[in-house]
């Protein structure tokens, strides 16, 4: 059984906008969510910038009960819950249900427990005072905490799984939900991923010298994917969520349809042939993109837009080279390509989900968001693809097919193919 899978709901907590209207406005107008963080200067981090959602903790009372909210400390769970429940509302279904929703599952990605919240645990245990910790720590320390909060709130009764594949996580979550519906195991899947980059994770990235070491004084210009002056990435926090549905199920309930998922692929370069813990094996990347195209029944020239991984490290050039080889397109024939990270930084585990929400919005609202901070494209990139493939202003145009990819530590690749929805394919 092969079912068509469509997108019927979107939710987002992004550094440059919380909720779909604010996020849509931000990505159409090239609004940056990167800020200078004074604490990071005190802590002597080299990079002192981050993409931070302007999140009001008190707003959580609109999403979860007072009892659940009391004792909730984890920001990654909070972001995930808000994005997921917003996506659910957006799909036109109420939160409340007495019976489990047996036909609906959840695949949500998460990286690690919020270490800032866990600091209190370490303090109590080390002071031989663990008995004061109470009942609410374990559910927030477990990696599946976010998925448990979401599925519990909505009574989701199908497969509920938490996935984790570093920066490839979000796209992988969406792919897993898509495959599950495609093969008929569920009618609807709430998918996405969340990330809160706490101070300790941030410090560890800073020490790896993968974060930018320039631009602390001009935060909004500091995230520069594909630029000659790119100096590394800027961590971002947030969450993205998508409601995927079996097409017939969505049509029966007269749901609004944003887009269709045509296919996708997830693989690993096996940390061979140039692949490592932190670098992608290009052969793996190329195979992943090609496989996504094949199982979507497409060729390179069908792609209107690429939503790249493109973090603003020196891996950007190789990523462009890999896309070019996978699509068999270069120079002016190459599709338009953009990186949301120019506005929000690299949201790590949440990147694929937030960027997929942006991708779907570009299809639904017929535009291509700009790459901000790309006044000086890297000549090593423009020697592969034409400069015209790198929009620096919003373009209003019909967008039919978009390829969205993310690549993560552990040499993991994920690629998704989204399409404008046409009832008759």
């Amino acid at each position: 059984m092969i079912n068509r899978v469509v997108v019927t709901g979107l939710g987002v907590v992004s550094p440059n906008g919380i909720g779909i209207p604010a996020f849509l406005h931000a990505i159409q107008n090239g609004i940056s969510g990167i800020k200078f963080i004074p604490l990071y200067r005190e802590l002597k981090f080299n990079c002192q910038l981050a993409g931070v959602p302007v999140f009001e903790w008190a707003d959580l009372k609109n999403y979860i009960s007072d009892v659940t909210l009391h004792g909730l400390k984890s920001k990654s769970i909070a972001y995930g819950v808000v994005a997921a429940l917003d996506a659910w509302s957006d799909s036109g279904v109420v939160y409340e249900t007495d019976e489990p929703r047996w036909d609906t599952g959840c695949v949500f990605g998460n990286s690690i427990a919020d270490t800032e919240a866990m600091k209190n645990v370490i303090f109590h245990v080390d002071n031989k005072d663990s008995k004061k910790l109470g009942s609410r720590i374990v559910e927030q320390a477990m990696n599946s905490g976010v998925t448990a909060y979401i599925s519990g709130r909505l009574g989701l009764g199908n497969k509920v799984v938490t996935n984790s594949a570093a920066c490839a996580t979000g796209a992988q979550s969406i792919l897993m939900g898509y495959e599950y519906i495609k093969h008929g195991y569920a009618k609807r899947m709430l998918v996405g991923s969340t990330e809160y980059v706490d101070t300790y994770v941030y410090g560890a990235f800073d020490s790896m010298r993968v974060l930018t070491r320039k631009g602390n004084d001009y935060p909004e210009q500091a995230s520069r994917p594909m630029s000659l002056s790119a100096g590394g990435f800027i961590p971002g926090s947030g969450a993205g969520a998508i409601v995927l549905e079996d097409l017939d199920f969505a049509l029966q309930r007269n749901a609004k349809i944003y887009a269709e998922v045509l296919g996708g692929s997830c693989n690993s370069g096996g940390m061979r042939s140039g692949g490592s813990m932190t670098a992608a094996n290009s052969q793996g990347v190329i195979r992943c993109i090609k496989h996504a195209l094949e199982n979507s029944g497409l060729r390179g020239q069908n792609i209107d837009l690429i939503s790249g991984h493109l973090t603003a490290t020196n891996a950007d050039r190789q990523e462009i080279q890999n896309w070019s080889e996978a699509l068999h397109l270069s120079g002016p024939d190459f599709p338009l390509i953009n990186s949301l990270k120019s506005m929000v930084g690299h949201c790590l585990t949440a990147a694929g989900a937030i960027e997929s929400v942006a991708t779907i919005l570009q299809i639904a609202h017929k535009f291509i968001h700009p790459n901000i901070n790309l006044d000086d494209p890297n000549p090593e990139i423009t020697s592969i693809i034409s400069k015209d493939c790198l929009p620096v202003k919003m373009i209003k145009k019909e967008v039919n097919i978009v390829a969205k990819a993310n690549f993560g530590f552990g040499d993991i690749n994920s690629c998704l193919i989204f399409s404008k929805f046409n009832l008759d394919k």
Partner: protein
């Protein structure tokens, strides 16, 4: 502290954990924490921790197990308060 005073204090301790806020106003010594106030059994440990912090007492496991309704909670707390006088 009288039993009535402790009962009034317990309303504040229970408040964050009960979805049944209406009922909180009318609790009496027979009110069951789980059945009537609909408090999740896992949260009983949080209530005990909060009570310990509030009254600067220590509630041992055996006493904690007896804290099933408002009356038994008052029993345990008043006994502990007596002993530290």
């Amino acid at each position: 502290m009288t039993r009535l005073e402790i009962l009034e204090e317990l309303k504040i301790v229970f408040a964050p954990y009960t979805p049944n806020k209406e009922m909180l106003h009318s609790i009496n010594e027979h009110t069951d924490i789980i059945k009537d106030l609909k408090i999740n059994s896992a949260n009983l440990v949080d209530i005990i921790i909060d009570a310990e912090n509030k009254y600067h007492i220590e509630i041992d496991n055996e006493s904690a197990e007896n804290m099933v309704n408002v009356g038994t909670c008052i029993d345990v707390i008043s006994k502990k308060l007596e002993s530290i006088k």
